[in-house]
Each structure stands twice: as structure tokens, then as C-alpha cells.
């Protein structure tokens, strides 16, 4: 590089630069917060409106000038929501299905992930690729046949039909297998040398080490039960086995006359509440579990 090209950067008026840049920083900060707080408000608004509406009287709800805080707190909306939609039974059904299917699903997932991560057998890679391939196929494709399969098995309107068909999640197996594979081989070899059985090793070493993943899976599975709609509607829509989402939708579409929106909103709030509670206490695991799917690549 020749000498004449060595020109130092343009000399500037430093004082002017400093104040200009301060103002810019403040403006940018303000805009940034304005945008993000506005977005947060939009995201939160439906929740606020749900709670707000759920506490109003029908008369207040219907006013053409909306009130942003109920004049008279109608806590009774919640009790009538609970009875109108028969939420107690729906909650119990959903909890039962959620807990049982999560427990069984965990066992199956752990065993399968262990086999794929630690054991060697013929055709392992082909089998695993095959499993991954099924992830690409939309579930609607399965439903058509599964519907007649479960009918064939006489499972319509039973808890079984809500639990068994979706016990295996290839995605969870994949997730856990990745986690298992990160555990050093040496631990397994050491356990083998010590004569530890596979199952004991699984229970004593691998499960504790992958606990965060297992917790994430548990929560996601429970959330799945809580939110499932299509399949339960199809195969178990009787009073005895109906799950929360169906119950909610049905309770307020089959009524005669006007929909009592405040009560409906109270029911929606009641249905949403457990998820929120779980989220508040286990936020880390839920967000981890969800984002884990993003780190697949």
C-alpha cells in the first residue's frame, strides 16, 4: 500500500457527533420500546378481554360503549360456567387421559430411545430413518383408517381410544435419543464393566441425566391432551369420556337462545387457567422443549 493512500479517516467535529449520537440512541430506544410494548399489549389483549368479559354481567357486556373494567364483579359467572359446561367432569377426564397417556408414553419413549441410542442391532439405521419418515406425513392421513381400526377394536367411547393410538411419538423418541447420545459412552462401558444391567443403567444414569428433556416431553404431552380436539371429537364424544376442548365448544353451541358470553368467557378462562399455571411454574422446560424442536437442524 503506497504512502499517499494512507489517509486517516475523515476528521470529524467530535462534539457534534457526540450529541447527535446521544439523541439517536434515545430515539431508537424509545421507538424500540414503543414497538415492543405495543406488540406485547396486542398479544395480551385477548387474555385481558377474556378476564374482563368473564366478570361482567350480560347486560354490561352488551353495552355499546364497552367498559374496560367490570362495574360489578360477577364471580358467579365462574360457578355457572363450571356447571353449564360440566367442567368438573371434563377436567377429570382430561387429567386422567393426560396422566395415563403421558406415563405410558414416557416408558415407551425411553425404551425406544435407549435402544436407538445405546444398543446395536441389525437394521437400526434403516428403522430409525423409517420412523423419521413417518414424521413427514400429516396426521390426518392416519385418522381415516385409525377411526375404523379403533371401531373394529370396539374402543369407541372409551378412555383407551383416547390414550393408546398416540402413545408413540417419533419426535419424542428422536429428541430423547439425541439427548441419550450426548451422554458419554464411557459411562455405559463403565456400567457394563461393573455388571450393571441395561435397565438399571437406564434408570440410574440416563434418566437422571436427561431429566430436563423428559420433563419437557411430559409437559408437552400433557398440553397435547389438554388441547386435543379432532380425534376425541371423532371417537369419544359421549358425556362420560368427553375431553375439555370438545366439552367447551359443545357446551356453548348446543344451547338454545342467546349465548351468555360472560359465562362462556369464564369457562374459557377456567379452561385456560391450568395451562397458565403449569407455564408459570415450568416455563423453562416448556420453552426448552418447544425450542428444542428448532435446534434439530
Amino acid at each position: 500500500m503506497s504512502d499517499n493512500k494512507i489517509i486517516l479517516m475523515h476528521e470529524r467535529n467530535m462534539a457534534e457527533q457526540t450529541s447527535h449520537q446521544k439523541i439517536m440512541t434515545v430515539i431508537v430506544k424509545v421507538l424500540l420500546y414503543a414497538f415492543i410494548l405495543a406488540m406485547a399489549a396486542i398479544v395480551l389483549f385477548p387474555f385481558y378481554w377474556m378476564i374482563n368479559s368473564s366478570l361482567k354481567t350480560l347486560e354490561e357486556y352488551r353495552r355499546s360503549v364497552p367498559t374496560f373494567w367490570p362495574h360489578r364483579l360477577m364471580l358467579s359467572n365462574y360457578s355457572s360456567a363450571f356447571t353449564t359446561a360440566n367442567l368438573g367432569k371434563l377436567f377429570l377426564n382430561t387429567m386422567y387421559v393426560g396422566v395415563v397417556s403421558t406415563a405410558l408414553s414416557l416408558v415407551i419413549t425411553v425404551l425406544s430411545a435407549f435402544a436407538f441410542a445405546r444398543l446395536s442391532f441389525k437394521g437400526k439405521n434403516a428403522l430409525f430413518a423409517g420412523l423419521l419418515a413417518t414424521m413427514m406425513i400429516p396426521g390426518e392421513l392416519f385418522t381415516i383408517t385409525n377411526y375404523s381400526t379403533v371401531t373394529n377394536l370396539g374402543w369407541i367411547n372409551t378412555y383407551t381410544v383416547l390414550i393408546v393410538p398416540f402413545l408413540v411419538s417419533v419426535f419424542y423418541i428422536y429428541l430423547l435419543r439425541q439427548n441419550f447420545m450426548q451422554i458419554p459412552d464411557e459411562l455405559y462401558l463403565a456400567a457394563k464393566v461393573d455388571g450393571t444391567s441395561d435397565l438399571k443403567y437406564l434408570w440410574k444414569v440416563m434418566i437422571p441425566l436427561s431429566l430436563p428433556t423428559l420433563i419437557s416431553i411430559t409437559i408437552l404431552k400433557m398440553m397435547g391432551a389438554w388441547n386435543s380436539y379432532i380425534w376425541p371429537r371423532l371417537v369419544a364424544n359421549d358425556e362420560a369420556h368427553r375431553l375439555i376442548t370438545n366439552g367447551l365448544r359443545n357446551a356453548f353451541t348446543e344451547t338454545t337462545g342467546d349465548v351468555n358470553y360472560p359465562v362462556q368467557m369464564a369457562a374459557v378462562a377456567l379452561v385456560s387457567a391450568p395451562l397458565f399455571l403449569v407455564f408459570i411454574f415450568l416455563r423453562k422446560y416448556i420453552m426448552q422443549g418447544v425450542s428444542r424442536s428448532g435446534i434439530k437442524g
Binding site: I36, W49, S64, L111, I144, D185
Partner: protein, 317 residues
């Protein structure tokens, strides 16, 4: 590396895998096989099959479905929803994620707030959106329009000087219906995308930004030349999953419109591909239902492949 231990007991692995495999065979593999079979038997119906009817092998189901107005309308609605919501939600999520990443105060609580829609029941919150957009007990007739109460969204529009819009009730337009759906779906899709993109941003080496600052790079250029390219794998991921999810849209519409999938005077107007598949199922047309499912699968496959192809060109490293 997992194969270090030369396991002579191969059967053990199969024992561990057996519950998963058994269930997958019954509830995943067989359905795939059977769906394809039914799709290619013309006019296949479970009831007629029991009744002893014979079905010709052929592509009649596909032809029938593809010529059917309703199916095309489902296809249109579904595609429109995808094409509109995926870019909007991705861009919005990207902006929010970048903003979240660059603030210190309130970052954690805001992050939590933006994730909230993920932990909701889409039917339940759909009902809230319906209430927000509703015109309660409105009775239309050209000379006789009575609006008892407008939903909060219309209240806001009127407050801002606009005219109330009939969003979801009978007499509403397709455009109005779609607007509500787009808003709801974007709202619903944001948390996942923000989470993934924010995770991506936080794993980007801070030094890239320091280097850019030292070089006097403007914020806009940092965003377009550094942030977006470095995030491109995550962006590709949320776009692909967004499209796949978008083509399977169903419950969000049930949440807002109920199972009529549209305003009362034009039920099924907003029906989607998945909705179509279930409807065919309930009229015992498993052949057409299967054909529709395979078409859906084909679309998702093609869209995903295109996405992968595009991202191969655009995604860096």
C-alpha cells in the same frame, strides 16, 4: 459410537422397541398403507364395501375431488391463509425477536408475555377472538339492520372514527372472515417463531455485532446484512414449519366459527383441507377422504421441498 458394545443380544433391542413398533404398525404404518389403497379404489366407501360393492382401481377419487367446487374452495382458503400468515408472522416474529434481543430492561417478562399464546387452547382462545370480533345478536336485512352490541374490535374501530365491520356473523364478507383468521393465526403463530428466532439470535456470537459497530454499520444494515443471514437457518425452519402447520389449519377456524366453518349464511365457506377430509369421512366417503389426504400430503411435500430448495440457496453455511 453407540455400537462400541458388540451386543450379541440383539433381541434385547427389539424387546425395548416392541411396544413402539407394535403401536406404530397399527396406528401409523397400516393407516398409510390403507389410505393409499382406499384413495385408489374409485368411490370407496366403508359401508358399500361391507355391502359387497366392488371398487375399480383408478384415480377416480382424485378426479372427483379435484373437480369439486368445495374442495377447490378449501384449497383456496388454506393456501391463502398460508401465503398470507406465514410471511406476516415470520417478519413480525423476527422484528419482535430482534427488539427483544436488543433490550435489557423487561426482556425476561416480555419474553414470557410473547410466549403466552403458545400455552393456550386454540379452541378456547378462538372463542375469545370470536367474542372480540363478534356483533352480538345482529339481525341483518337490507332495510332492517339491528346491531345489539358490537364486539370490542368494532368499538375500537368506531372510536377511531371508522365504521363497524361485520367480521364473522352471517352477512359478513369472505374478506372480513379471512382478516379475522389471519389476525388470529398470526397471533397464534408468533410465540413459536419468536422463541426459535430469539434462541437463534442469542446464540449468534456477540463479536459480529461489535465488529459491525466498530465499522460504523447502521442498524438497518446490521439487520439485513448480518442478523438475517446469520439467522437464515432458523428463519428457514420457522417458514417451513409455518407452511406445514398452515396447510393443516383447522381447529383455529373451529375456534372462531364453530364447526360450521363459516358464517351461518355460508357455512363451510372457510373450510380447510383438513376440514374437508373430516367431512368426507363423516359422509362415509373414505375413498375421497383418502384422496384428499394424499393431495394434502403431496402439497405439503412439494411446498417443503421448494422451501428446502430455496433455503439451500439462501441459507448460509
Amino acid at each position: 459410537m453407540a455400537d462400541i458394545v458388540d451386543s450379541k443380544n440383539q433381541w434385547k433391542a427389539w424387546v425395548y422397541l416392541s411396544p413402539a413398533i407394535a403401536l406404530l404398525l397399527v396406528f401409523t404404518v397400516w393407516p398409510i398403507f390403507n389410505t393409499v389403497r382406499m384413495a385408489f379404489l374409485e368411490g370407496y366407501s366403508g359401508l358399500m364395501n361391507v355391502g359387497g360393492a366392488k371398487f375399480q382401481f383408478g384415480i377416480g377419487n382424485f378426479r372427483k375431488v379435484l373437480q369439486y367446487q368445495r374442495f377447490l374452495s378449501c384449497l383456496k382458503t388454506t393456501s391463502l391463509l398460508c401465503i398470507i400468515t406465514v410471511p406476516i408472522s415470520t417478519i413480525l416474529a423476527l422484528l419482535i425477536a430482534v427488539c427483544l434481543n436488543s433490550i435489557k430492561i423487561l426482556q425476561k417478562p416480555l419474553q414470557t408475555i410473547f410466549f403466552l399464546p403458545y400455552v393456550t387452547n386454540s379452541i378456547a382462545i378462538g372463542m375469545v377472538f370470536a367474542a372480540m370480533f363478534n356483533i352480538v345478536g345482529s339481525f341483518y336485512g337490507t332495510q332492517n339492520e339491528i346491531i345489539v352490541t358490537a364486539g370490542i374490535v368494532n368499538n375500537i374501530i368506531e372510536f377511531l372514527g371508522g365504521k363497524a365491520v361485520n367480521w364473522i356473523n352471517y352477512g359478513s364478507t369472505y374478506l372480513a372472515n379471512m382478516t379475522v383468521m389471519v389476525i388470529y393465526i398470526v397471533w397464534n403463530a408468533l410465540p413459536f417463531k419468536i422463541l426459535i428466532l430469539l434462541g437463534g439470535l442469542q446464540s449468534v456470537n456477540k463479536q459480529y455485532y461489535d465488529a459491525a459497530r466498530v465499522d460504523g454499520t447502521s442498524r438497518r444494515r446490521i439487520f439485513s446484512r448480518i442478523t438475517v443471514p446469520l439467522l437464515s437457518p432458523m428463519i428457514a425452519y420457522v417458514v417451513i414449519t409455518g407452511f406445514i402447520g398452515g396447510f393443516k389449519e383447522y381447529t383455529s377456524i373451529v375456534g372462531i366459527f364453530g364447526e360450521t366453518m363459516g358464517p351461518a349464511d355460508d357455512a363451510k365457506r372457510l373450510n380447510t383441507m383438513v376440514g374437508f377430509i373430516y367431512d368426507s369421512l363423516s359422509t362415509n366417503s373414505q375413498g375421497r377422504s383418502s384422496a384428499a389426504a394424499l393431495i394434502l400430503f403431496g402439497i405439503i411435500l412439494v411446498v417443503t421441498l421448494i422451501n428446502l430448495r430455496v433455503s439451500k440457496k439462501r441459507v448460509h453455511y
